[in-house]
């Protein structure tokens, strides 16, 4: 484990009791919420492994719903997130699921938007509050939330990736990590770009307007 800042050792400020089972769950919820980009009307949460056995005692259920409501790690409203969701008429369900070979602390989240469209996110809490999102809908990703991140759904055709990277370069944004995943040639594909700088909203809008780009979301580090 490479820790770089002293505030990763003396910190973060968080709602207890467990960095992996509570803080990590808030972060997975936060990222899923940012990918959805609106308040969901329905949250279905599936726990796997150690999470399925001990989620109640660590408040993992409360933590992930808090994260989905947009509460940060240190927000004391997390404690009453289930009540808040109920007050907002958000339907919340908890289930178990089986995910052979997945990390023991894995959550699958299915969110429904106001227009009934859905988003599925799978993420794992990998220790010390650090997380990794491994799947967004049917696309495999590797998203940690540590860096400013752009997630793009685009058509798999020549030039789309080049256009995105050159636009970032022209705006002084350096790419730290980048990953492209497609299921079929020419079909809808996923691009995850983790950068060293925050990406201005107008750049995201510009990328969104490219032919071949279906969705472009910017996710601040969490």
């Amino acid at each position: 484990m490479e820790k770089l800042s002293i505030f990763e050792v003396m910190g973060p400020i968080m709602i207890g009791p467990s960095s992996s089972h509570t803080a990590g769950a808030v972060r997975i919820g936060n990222l899923a919420r940012k990918l959805l980009n609106e308040e969901p009307k329905e949250m279905k949460i599936y726990f796997y492994g150690s999470f399925a056995e001990t989620f109640k005692g660590h408040g993992t259920d409360i933590a992930v719903v808090g994260g989905l409501l947009g509460y940060r790690l240190d927000d004391e409203r997390i404690r009453t997130s289930l009540e808040s969701a109920a007050n907002k008429d958000i339907h919340v369900e908890f289930h178990r699921f089986e995910a052979p070979n997945a990390h023991p602390n894995t959550i699958k989240i299915e969110l429904t938007r106001a227009d009934d469209s859905t988003l599925q996110v799978i993420g794992s809490s990998v220790g010390g509050g650090e997380i990794v999102i491994t799947k967004i809908d049917r696309f495999k990703v590797n998203l940690t939330g540590k860096y400013p991140t752009i997630w793009i759904l685009h058509l798999d055709k020549p030039g789309v990736i080049a256009k995105v990277t050159s636009t970032l370069a022209l705006n002084g944004v350096n790419i730290a990590f980048m990953e492209v995943f497609r299921e079929d040639r020419g079909a809808l594909s996923s691009m995850v770009v983790q950068t060293d700088q925050n990406v201005p909203a107008e750049v995201i809008r510009e990328v969104n307007s490219f032919i071949g780009v279906k969705i472009c979301r910017f996710i601040e580090p969490i």
Binding site: A23, G59, F94
Partner: protein
């Protein structure tokens, strides 16, 4: 760039610059995170504020956790001090109360500073805030102690681990105790050598500590272990300030911790399959608690 990878680096840089360990840690963080000196202090001051609030809040709490294993321990300890009935008295009894308080706040989903981890979050505030209270130290002095503690923890994070699942409780409460001991010595105006000695003495005495939480919860033995560790940190600082050193250098103690962590069986590394979690009472509590929480 004032990089430090080992405890020896920290010590050498402090001696070369005729400054304290916390000075080196601040210099490092300014470069690493691109912050000003004031910003580093401010961020640590935010941590201190949360620690103080948790220590205060936890001493007033009496409601039990969902499992019922933890409830009014900090409240009881604070009452004993208030009524002048403490056996140990002074700084030790206050450290016990504050560490219990912060760990209780953690167990009941309150706000804490994970330092080095959430499960060991009571030790550093317990030890440092108790010493500050008894010795009348101000916030700037406590912040220097916290910076020192954080720098010591950073070395362990790089060289070994701060995770109970990887290294057992020695990597969480053990390291937290070493961090607190070093921080206390710095607050008390000890030399860099004494800071390092306190860290090494404290961690040495925590080597081999296993992570065996009942029902997988951060409650038993964690909450009371935080309290006892805070008292242990003060004892280690006391020895170091008396000029007592560690025969085994701090960096070698960290290596030993790593080796011991690797040698510990999986059952004793946060799996709740062995140790206290596997006792008759531990299993009974787990069955009752987890049974009532099952989902399909």
């Amino acid at each position: 760039m004032p990089v430090f990878y080992t405890i020896e680096d920290l010590l050498r840089k402090a001696n070369e610059g005729s400054c304290t360990i916390s000075d080196i840690v601040v210099e490092y963080e300014m470069k690493n995170s691109d912050l000003t000196r004031e910003e580093v202090y401010q961020r640590m001051a935010n941590n201190l504020k949360v620690m103080k609030e948790a220590a205060e809040k936890g001493m007033q709490q009496t409601e039990p956790t969902q499992s019922g294993m933890i409830s009014d321990e900090a409240f009881r300890m604070a009452k004993v001090i208030r009524e002048g009935r403490s056996l140990a008295g002074g700084v030790i009894s206050i450290a016990l109360a504050k560490a219990l308080a912060v760990s209780t706040v953690n167990a009941t989903m309150g706000k804490i500073v994970a330092g080095p981890t959430a499960g060991s979050c009571g030790i550093v505030p317990g030890g440092l805030l108790a010493v500050a209270e008894v010795k009348g130290l101000n916030d700037d002095e406590i912040i220097r102690g916290l910076l020192t503690a954080a720098g010591l923890g950073l070395v362990v994070a790089r060289q070994a681990t701060l995770s109970g699942a990887a290294g057992g409780c020695q990597a969480e409460c053990g390291v937290g105790t070493g961090m607190a001991a070093g921080g206390i010595v710095e607050m008390m105006g000890g030399t860099p050598e004494q800071v390092i000695a306190a860290f090494a003495l404290a961690l040495k005495n925590m080597l081999g500590l296993v992570c065996d939480p009942v029902a997988g919860l951060v409650e038993v033995p964690c909450v009371k272990r935080n309290a006892l560790s805070a008292s242990h940190a003060i004892s280690s600082a006391e020895l170091a300030l008396a000029g007592i050193g560690s025969v085994i250098p701090a960096d070698e103690v960290i290596s030993a911790m790593n080796e011991i962590g690797d040698a510990l069986p999986r059952t004793l590394k946060e799996t709740s399959l062995g140790g206290l979690a596997n006792t008759e009472t531990g299993k009974r509590i787990a069955e009752k608690f987890l049974g009532s929480m099952k989902i399909r």
